[in-house]
Symmetry: C2
């Protein structure tokens, strides 16, 4: 893989939000002999897991402090990873380093989430850091191409996948959700800011109420990165919970773009899919 040849400067600064991913990234770095330093976002990053690594606690508004700490730790390469609810402006306890660049942050806030993250990312880059993505830092956490489960998509599922990809491509310019559910050629649900888990719960609910009439075991959750999305910040992610949600929604399987999708707890996800009789497949991008 080309990513293997990519040279990373150790230690790596891991700006760590919520969920399991920041720790999976840190473990992946360590497995390859690189040192992670976590910059754990208060209120998002899990404190118990952060203890396993060298770490500093930061808040969202502390760009100045974060960059000072990164320099003190000799981190040149930085990755943003994990979940983060868009903060209310009132929650931001801005430091002086942040105030110096507040105009640019403000501009970032006015766009979608992509703009916010890439706006903050640009500020780090202007201060001499290199922003990396999972492709460079932990390529082993990305979805491979092809089907990873016992069940494979059949002809109908493949048609639903193609339809879903077309729709997501059309939504690309709008910085909106990255997922869609297609059943027997019908687009039944589109993800907004509520996220994939809630989209799947909605489909399960519509099915329970008889609004989705297709037999169980039909239809596909399709996830793809947004068009022009900066893949260093916001890769679509799947994991055991996605598979459980898809099973509860009565779908046939899950299709994501290979290489551009993070897999959380891959082994657990594949086992959950095999148990539920769902497929999980990585599409060529």
């Amino acid at each position: 893989m080309a990513a293997a040849a990519f040279e990373i400067s150790s230690p790596v600064g891991v700006i760590a939000g919520g969920g399991a991913m920041p720790f999976a990234v840190a473990d992946s770095l360590k497995a390859r002999g690189l040192d992670p330093v976590l910059f754990a976002l208060k209120g998002a990053c899990d404190p118990a897991s952060a203890e396993r690594f060298r770490h500093h606690w930061i808040t969202v508004g502390q760009l100045g402090r974060t960059m000072k700490l990164l320099r003190a730790e000799s981190c040149k390469d930085v990755i943003f990873i994990g979940t983060l609810v868009r903060p209310a402006l009132s929650e931001l306890r801005l430091d002086w380093g942040t105030l110096r660049v507040i105009r640019r942050i403000w501009a970032a806030f006015r766009g979608g989430d992509d703009h916010l993250l890439s706006g903050v990312g640009r500020i780090f880059e202007q201060q001499g850091f290199r922003l990396l993505g999972l492709k460079e830092v932990a390529p082993d956490l990305l979805m491979p191409q092809g089907c990873v489960t016992r069940k494979m998509p059949d002809k109908d599922a493949s048609a639903d996948i193609a339809r879903g990809r077309e729709l997501l491509a059309a939504l690309g310019p709008f910085d909106v959700g990255q997922a869609v559910v297609v059943i027997d050629g019908h687009v039944v649900g589109v993800e907004g800011i509520e996220g994939t888990d809630e989209l799947l719960r909605r489909i399960a609910d519509l099915r329970a109420r008889g609004r989705v009439r297709a037999a169980a075991g039909r239809g596909v959750l399709v996830k793809a990165p947004k068009d022009g999305q900066d893949l260093r910040y916001d890769l679509p992610a799947i994991g055991p919970r996605t598979v459980e949600g898809a099973a509860a929604a009565g779908l046939s399987g899950v299709a994501v773009v290979a290489g551009n999708t993070v897999v959380a707890e891959a082994q657990a996800m594949i086992e959950a899919a095999d148990e539920a009789g769902l497929f999980v497949t990585g599409l060529a991008s």
Copy 2:
């Protein structure tokens, strides 16, 4: 209005689903001296209201019987109006007239809702009936151009409306929902098969949980017909409930395409909007 010059053949066959619209159409026809005959769909059309008009009860599968009744009533012009949950095939009690055209219906079922309705519509047309839309039958029930409320969309709301229309145009080819919620330039929700009321409930819920951080009174529900949608069958609709949902979701107002949107209980809707301080505006198509 050009529609006023349109000559309608009386009596008019009103294939009546659920909700208040079939009766509003029948009243509108009577007000203009035309005779409605309701073909009330069992399980969907309200029996008490149907009593107010000459009517026959039909089921979804009875195309043959319906066409025979239409001919017996000398109805040449027909309108499909009201809500109808997509029937399960097992619920369809097909009659012989339906069985003769079953292949075409089956083809219609495999596409989206548009295809289903226009597929059935084409079958009526092949049998010599003329399928009309609200524009011809009851133009007084359609949203006019311009703002109908005391509150008007401000500059931010207008920008959200423009964004929403762009997104709906992009979704057009996919036969999916007709509504989107945009707040401060962010697309926060996209309608799938769940419908507009549920989309608005979702936004209200996301706001209650702090996932939508914008101040109350910001953002717009934008509704538009799908691209290439056959407007005789499935016009987007708004009414008092839409306004109440938008208010509960903390939005600034509702924007729909003038002439291509049905307004249920217009006076009640405008009063609800004025009371809640929301705008409702009809956009040039």
